[in-house]
Amino acid sequence: MAIIFPGDSDMNDQRKGSDAEPTTHFGYKNVPESQKAEKVAEVFHSVAAKYDLMNDVLSGGMHRLWKRFAIELSGVRVGNKVLDIAGGTGDLARKFSQLVGPTGEVVLADINASMLKVGRDRLLDLGVAGNVQFVQADAEKLPFPDNHFDCVTIAFGLRNVTHKEDAIASMLRVLKPGGRLLVLEFSKPTNKIMSKVYDAYSFAFMPLAGKLITNDSESYRYLAESIRMHPDQETLKAMMVQAGFDRVTYHNMTSGIVALHRGIKP
């Protein structure tokens, strides 16, 4: 099986292998497209139970501030309809539920049943109910009507999607004109020293922490590799513009380790 290294400039998912079936990356590995979703699902089934704990440990709690920034830029108001794709354990959905109020609607969507279950249980335990729905859905083929949502968010989920262009197009379709897409995702550090430190941290500490806490170092090796294979800030911006989004901007956070892209549906 071919290995793709982070230095490879081609971030396109539609890579062709030697056989007939198109291939895509799964971390640094190249796998047939039909297998990626299944492999990603295995990763998240494995980490779902301790997902929040691992997020706190690996990011030092920073993921809460990154998500907070996404909420600030969402501009969500009472009565809005919000779709949180790859919503995982429901961090964003919880805040959105509070912001849209009883007249609004929040849909927490995730392709992974284990993550969705953890998210649903967690929100119900916190008393978040009434205006939140839980939907198991594929970001590439969202099962919602056209022009339905005021805001669509995907936090730390896009890099796991096999066909990112299809997912972005699908998000554009379900947004109302004037609606906002927010993509919160790991990106490329803007500082060279930070980049070196981050590489060392990702490939040494993250798998070790995964081994110690969830007894699964491979999933966290995949996390580090998938971050390197994800399009950088400018590439993702270009993809959003290509899909048809208007006024696409991005904000780097923590020296570009994470970036928040925002686009408006014209």
């Binding site: 501030l65 909420i71 600030e72 830029l73 969402s74 501009g75 509070q98 912001l99």
Partner: protein, 207 residues
């Protein structure tokens, strides 16, 4: 990001305090959906406050327009927070309030009316018996301190006014102020008479 972290910590602490008052959250729920922007001019700092039934959401920026915007220097904001007569501060020239001011005043009223049930919170940690003993001790100490402070301020006032004569007594000062007021009124009356007299003299000269 540092500021965002700081704001998140303040929000967490503030909401914890708000939960200690049984009436605060239902009252804040009535303000759900409103966005209040506090724009501190010096130092330059923006803060958005979004009330809801879970407390307050604080943000350093907000993409949607605010319902009420308060622009003022930090000194005026502190004065506004501490002053009992908020309307007077809001009408001062340094303070600019735009949008729906009722939202801001309602929020301030909720915060002013807070009656924190700290004993309930303490009970979660220490249990009912220990909390009762501790709170009884704290209440008696607080009562003693309040009485002591009142007594001290009264004695000090009497000493300075009556014994050392360093300060003028309150009643004596009020009498002197009344005399000064009367003198001021008399002077103004005299001034008006002189004015009228001079006008009548001028008119007779012209005739």
């Amino acid at each position: 990001m540092l500021l965002r972290g700081l704001i998140a910590s303040v929000e967490r602490g503030l909401n914890r305090v708000l939960r200690m008052d049984g009436t605060a959250l239902p009252r804040l729920a009535r303000l759900q959906g409103k966005v209040i922007e506090i724009d501190c001019l010096s130092p330059a700092l923006q803060l958005f406050i979004l009330p809801s039934d879970e407390g307050l959401l604080l943000a350093s920026q907000w993409a949607a327009p605010a319902d009420c915007t308060l622009r003022a220097p930090a000194s005026s904001l502190v004065q506004l927070a501490l002053s009992k007569d908020k309307t007077a501060v809001l009408h001062s020239p340094q303070v600019d309030l735009s949008g729906d001011s009722a939202v801001l005043l309602d929020l301030v009223k909720v915060l002013q009316d807070l009656e924190l049930d700290w004993e309930y919170e303490l009970q979660q940690w220490l249990g009912p018996v220990a909390t009762q003993l501790f709170s009884g001790h704290v209440h008696s100490r607080a009562r003693w301190a309040r009485q002591g402070f009142d007594s001290l301020s009264q004695n000090l006032g009497e000493f300075l006014a009556e014994e050392s004569r360093t300060l003028v007594g309150e009643r004596e000062a009020e009498a002197r102020f009344a005399e000064l007021d009367q003198l001021k009124i008399d002077t103004e009356r005299l001034e008006a008479r002189i004015e009228r007299l001079s006008r009548s003299l001028d008119s007779s000269d012209n005739a």
